[in-house]
Amino acid sequence: MANQPLILTKTEITQIHRALLQMLKQSEAKCAMLVDADGKCLAKKGFTSNIDTDALAALIAGSFSSTRAMAKLVGETDFSVLFHQGTRDHIHNILVDTNTILTVIFDDRTTIGMVRLYSKESAKALKETIEVARTKKMPMDKKLAIEKDVEDQLDNLFKEE
């Protein structure tokens, strides 16, 4: 069915974090994020405490979407790597699968070659995990009956209105 939710359980999260940590260790990058093409940050590791990862994930997904549109215009299906070079920090993005992006932020302690090599390796491992997650379905016996609670919570949020 179109638009089926993505289910991440302990199994996937552990595998994803393991892959990210290993990649960070090998490449000596600062931090890594797994970003959904919808703009959600699925997982993050490393020094992300002073980064607005929500906004970054949305923007990365946006830039990947527009890159894909560009690719189509020149007869490609995708550009699988996207690199942003700064004066101090740089961002390297690589497609894990058509809907998932591995983002690595690094500085001059390492090199683009190291990041590219290890994120490519890591993307392969992540692809398997994500593929499994995308086919996952939850048992019917669990319901998330929270509509009313969400509405109440929204009322709370807007109470200063």
């Binding site: 069915m1 089926q4 939710p5 302990k10 949305a58 302690r109 090599l117 019917m140 929270i146 209105e161």
Partner: protein
Amino acid sequence: MATLNYAFKELSCKIVYYGCGLCGKTTNLIHIHKTVPQKFRGELVSLATEQDRTLFFDFLPLDLGEVKGFKTKFQLYTVPGQVYYNATRKLVLRGVDGLVFVADSQKDRLQENIDSLENLKQNLAEYGYRLQTGPSDFEGIPWVIQYNKRDMPQVSELEDMQVAMNPNRVPHFEAVAVNGNGVKDTLKGISSLVIKKLNADPTGVGGTAEPKKESKPVAAAATPSSKAPVAEDYSAMNEDDLEKELAEEPKSKSGAAASSTPAMSRPKPAAPAPVAEAPAAHAGMPVLNVVQKGGARVRGLGFGSSNLTLANMAGGDADLYQLTGKVSFLGIFGSTWSRRLRFTGTEEKAYGGVVSKFFKFLSDDGTDPSLEVYVKDDFDKPLFVNYLGKFGEVKIVPPGKAPLA
């Protein structure tokens, strides 16, 4: 698509505000950003033209906090309304969970609204989505209509607009977004539909808060029972548990990976051992991520160059920090090292005739007892490092600064 993270108990949904140009989509987001306390929302990211027209999208993350044990997050997007921005407008619809169609109630905009709704249907169809036709249609994307600008002088009758745009009578809301009227109700309406769809999904998604595993007794936590992940494990975990689990990984794995690419592996500084014990963190330990180029001198002589970074260590003990550095003298003698540091508190020190507060760190892994690191609690957090090197005391300072006494 919504993301359900059972390990960290997080639910995250994407809601898009759609509509023709100047109908008030961004105004909805601005009102939400203004009204909701900072704790519950992120910053409003706006990719707009010089004339403040949305070029790509506006983005506002909304964090509802825990709802029945699930951290619930909504990500609100708007699309550019202008007809000629369709390429970017379409991209924002990817993975949408709920739509708010914002209609401009002014009489002369009726046709534009209808065209925009048609455009929405077409763009959705390209992703294989379609709009929900009724409350029990769980194949379609949930959507609501907001009739905005109800305060304008020449507005269409509500019923006329309903007939033109809402034949299936999905929930509708009247609004004056610029004053905030109806903004909250619209958001409540769409949130509720999105959650309802999650529940009623034929794939059976959803789950109530499960008994929390973290509350198990300490003795049980020490056993490596949870080490091997079991398939379909929907139990909750927290970040610390995961860190421990990953730290216990067999070493052979990383060793094998490293040896598979011997040509690429660089000489690395002795990596600090993983954190074994986790004593209570200091209150007020600083969050740091300092990257600094600077100068270095040995025994007060001979300038060299340095490249330092100091940052909190990922996971584990909260007051442990990692210092890595490269120091070279005259381009000949150089060293690269990495040390685990422990935050020992703040200290008042005189520097340049002014007494200011410094964060003080000492070596934690016992490899370099003489190592002292000071970070001035300042806007750009300059870093001062003193240690006993091969040829005498080494002092590393930020560019253009004198060593710390």
